[in-house]
Symmetry: C2
Subunit: 404 residues, 2 copies
């Protein structure tokens, strides 16, 4: 008799964005004249860069001719893309990462969700609170987290690392030793970053305690300040303890095109077993490579032309972030993030809860954001705004909030 994986039933409903949508719909129906501005979901709005469009058209044409048609891609990605990534994203930053340590995929979300498969089910994970939900949920599904406690909104067998104003939203090294540590910098949802010196401490801790760090660097393109590492491999010894996830989604607006990659150094072992061949085997068994045309699109962002265009795009979002950040600061809000990240994290005023502030902002300013508590109990009393919107609407939203 077939039976289901009961770990799935441990997951509490994932209602954050559907709850938001319902509340917004209800308000819009009751207030048809309100011009609602959405700064909630972390999806980009700028069109793909001309160099990317050009590369896509060229690759599509190749697929239409017998002489240049491409069937199955190499499971791990085309060499032209892996070589380019290794050189541009790593070697030029002094990180000794080889092309065959790069695994091209259809996005960092998939890779972040799938990576846990390589580890034993009794491994214990550590995550920040608040946190991007995929890290925890994928481990719940695999039976690695224990049961959910609705009174604390936490799972029994997870090490939660609180990120609060007290620690600048950068976690402290955990006292209870985990096996796997998820870190995301620049951070979603808080927009916080970690300095190279601070990240080095995590790498040293992981090497001392035989932990593996699962490092999500999906937002690295938004870093503006010096001494903030773009890759964990800028730290000494990271090749022995860290996997890194990267994405083209926010770097080049590929959320609807799907491209990302994961770095698994060949030196990375767990109790003497290398992770690299396991991930290669996983890719070979359960994945069939990212589309050729999308890999060519990815390659295009590394050309001088493509680079200039995506930097302009990122500049647009950065300016949005600045407008939100400075506007809210001038209005007396306690705000962080936004300088090296597309997310602005603000403390709800007057002791409001995340959802109270959501309702307040929707009703009084007709602006939609994301309640911080949706990312975990550590996010209660906070609120996330994103810089991925239209410039004029973003500025208008800020003016409305300032006028509250």
């Amino acid at each position: 008799m077939a039976t289901i994986n009961k770990n799935y039933l441990k997951l509490p409903g994932s209602y954050l964005f559907s709850d938001i949508a319902k509340k917004v719909k209800k308000f819009a129906d009751a207030n048809p004249e309100a011009e609602i501005i959405r700064l909630g979901i972390g999806d980009v709005t700028r069109p793909l860069a001309p160099a990317v469009i050009k590369a896509l058209h060229a690759a599509v044409d190749e697929m239409g001719q017998a002489e240049t048609f491409r069937g199955y891609a190499p499971d791990l990605g085309y060499e032209f893309l892996r070589d380019t990534i290794a050189r541009e994203d790593f070697q030029k930053r002094g990180c000794d990462i080889a092309p065959d340590e790069i695994f091209v995929s259809d996005g960092a979300k998939c890779d972040c969700g799938n990576i846990q498969e390589l580890f034993a089910t009794d491994n214990r994970i550590a995550v920040c609170d608040p946190v991007y939900p995929v890290y925890v949920d994928s481990n719940v599904m695999a039976g690695r987290t224990g049961d959910y406690d609705p009174t604390t909104d936490r799972f029994g067998n997870v090490v939660y690392m609180t990120c609060s104003a007290e620690n600048g939203f950068v976690p402290q090294l955990p006292e209870e030793k985990p096996d796997l540590i998820y870190l995301c910098f620049p951070n979603n949802p808080t927009g916080a970053v970690i300095t190279k010196n601070e990240l080095q401490k995590w790498v040293d801790y992981a090497n001392e305690n035989d932990c593996v760090i699962l490092y999500d660097a999906a937002y690295e393109a938004f870093i503006t300040e010096e001494n903030i590492p773009h890759s964990i491999y800028e730290c000494d010894g990271a090749k022995n303890c860290a996997v890194e996830f990267r994405s083209f989604s926010k770097t080049a607006g590929f959320t609807g095109l799907r491209l990302g990659f994961t770095v698994i150094p060949k030196d990375l072992t767990c109790k003497g077993e290398k992770l690299h061949p396991l991930w290669a085997r996983r890719h070979g068994t359960k994945y069939n490579g990212a589309p050729y045309i999308v890999q060519r699109a990815g390659e295009a962002i590394y050309t001088p032309e493509g680079r200039a265009q995506i930097m302009e795009q990122i500049g647009y979002y950065r300016e949005n972030a600045k407008i939100i950040l400075e506007g809210l600061q001038s209005a007396g809000y306690t705000v962080s993030g936004g300088v090296n990240a597309p997310y602005i994290w603000l403390k709800c005023p007057d002791g409001m809860s995340s959802w109270q502030f959501f309702d307040h902002l929707l009703q009084k300013a007709n602006v939609v954001g994301t309640p911080g508590v949706g990312f975990g109990p550590g996010g209660e009393g906070y609120f996330r705004l994103t810089a991925f919107g239209d410039r004029d609407k973003t500025a208008q939203a800020v003016e409305r909030i300032k006028a509250l």
Copy 2:
């Protein structure tokens, strides 16, 4: 201390295609004048249909304009594609499948590999022998198969259903009751098909024994004969016991574009638990949707123009299959498949093993195929040729084999 998922270590090396490549390279190096014809790997060679190319260009242009740019796709697929699939592939064949029972993905391989996650790890799988390796390997990784026995080339806790000339390469209902049953028709590697009456027996068996059938219909577009079901949902009661996987790879040459879908009926339960919300949750957590441009490409094959073009393409491969099948038959080979499938399965002559015949064919005819034993011990003494090659080369290969 992080430790690996040791189930991965149970997998024997996957050397089939790399062993083939090595042998071919060695032969080619020693015989530089030999014109080698490859009919081994199941990858298509015809370019994408003009309607698909047109749809891709149009969608790429949409992605380049702010007004029509698309970010994250719906996790489960765009409605325009799900509606089209439900209508064209199912409702028009009398199968009562709704759009929201269709989950669009980047391919049947991924879905076939990932589906096992929804089930308890103590569920026992049944597979055909020979078999597409993904079904077994993905279950090995999850710890569902027991250990590998190199003397039998089999895993301890798997129900193997032998497919041989005696049963026309269609398995018999297993005596030992499994929980999950993988079936693939038209079959890879044998090219065998199952009649509707025979498939109905499997559906009845699954419903009587509370099994779930995981039905891989990736090659359904190659069916030419009446009374061969294109979908398992043509059978009564299948919505209560079967998941179906479909692919655009062989239907429309999308091996390098990546698009497929899985059907999970809302009526399908395991001990009262519905599978549909579990797969939706999996998609939502570990997947981010197929690219918009690729979903538009998929939609294009359902237009009258697109349909005509892909039928012409499939016709081309079918004619290749016919040339191989009839040519080998006329030369006295025992051959099956090829009528409703792109694969021709032949019995190695003179008692040769699969690899002996591989060497024989490579050396004497300079033709590359796939040794049947690579798909499991049940394939020993057999050999697979594919119809996905170039017409002239395919005909030439057959002439060479006939001349042996």
